[in-house]
Symmetry: C2
């Protein structure tokens, strides 16, 4: 399994971790359970070797099957409260939100963090844009960490964190779309760390 840049999944994970990624979320659309599980096991081995957690997107059963560190659900996936019940108290639960209302509901349902976005327009996923104001409102409303997602780049990452107070940023093409994944992840990490130092 090779991405567009000729990297295997394992290589991509290790490069991102090498650059300072603190968590990896595996997102597989249009992928049946067997193949998803196989890819998840590959990603998990790489994450374990890098010492960072792996979060599985959507499929609670896949997360349970491979004993991932957590699962991330969107508003179209299993309800957060159901996911929490299935994974128990110890696995991480993330929830995608677009509004303060959704963020508060996720927090009440037992989410450990929310992914808020899309902050900006993105080529990865068709999604409505909440902007940095929408992100900031969510950050101010909930007690759990908020991760900014959607159109995040090294260029805008620092400003987004400074403005909103979000705990971190998540990127797909902003990291894996770059030819040098280690450098891209490192620049992201430095931008976020610098912004957090300022707040």
């Amino acid at each position: 399994m090779i991405d567009q840049s000729g990297r295997t999944l394992s290589e991509a994970v290790l490069l991102a971790a090498d650059g300072g990624a603190t968590v990896v979320q595996l997102r597989e659309k249009d992928c049946a359970g067997r193949e998803f599980t196989e890819r998840a096991n590959i990603a998990l081995a790489a994450c374990r070797s890098a010492g960072i957690p792996l979060i599985i997107n959507d499929r609670v059963d896949v997360a349970l099957a491979i004993q991932a560190d957590g699962v991330h659900v969107g508003q179209d996936d299993l309800p957060a409260m159901t996911a929490r019940r299935l994974i128990g108290p110890d696995m991480l639960l993330g929830v995608s939100v677009k509004s303060v209302e959704q963020a508060l509901a996720a927090q009440a349902a037992g989410a450990d963090y929310v992914g808020a976005g899309a902050v900006f327009q993105t080529g990865t996923k068709v999604s409505s844009v909440i902007g940095i104001e929408g992100l900031k409102a969510i950050c101010e409303a909930v007690k759990i960490p908020v991760v900014a997602i959607g159109g995040m780049s090294v260029q805008n990452g620092k400003e987004v964190v400074e403005f909103s107070g979000c705990a971190g940023v998540a990127a797909i093409s902003g990291i894996f779309g770059e030819s040098n994944v280690v450098d891209a992840a490192r620049e992201f990490r430095m931008a976020v760390d610098a912004a957090k130092g300022k707040r």
Copy 2:
């Protein structure tokens, strides 16, 4: 949620049960977890009221979430052994198989039954055909019940059961594609019962 004939999911389940269906399997392709769960809850309420079990296709997490009676996995879904581990010893586990080898593996992994097919060509699903000889070989190889699936009709159901010794037949269009679902289910049930009486 209405099918092509204007029936709701709940109505379709109740009509099939009224005609003598002994189990309902809910299969939802291209349906996100939230909607699948909502539909599964509707089907479960109908099955409970009809006194028959509901089996969820593919998604072990959805089956667990709604506390269905069982889950059915194909060769592209979570491995049967993984599914069994996740659902525990009491929930029903069905596995789709095309060969004696797959059927024996499913039995060893803890399947309660196998769905073997496609026995005949079908419009519902693109699938290779095993024929009644392939079905019979599977029935003779395993100790667990074998359900014939794929192109099953009232016309061929009796002959298939008589020839192969399968425990039952499953149909999608053979029942829900008929204008009178109760009658179609009843004719299936009578054909199968008659064939089993003969063996």
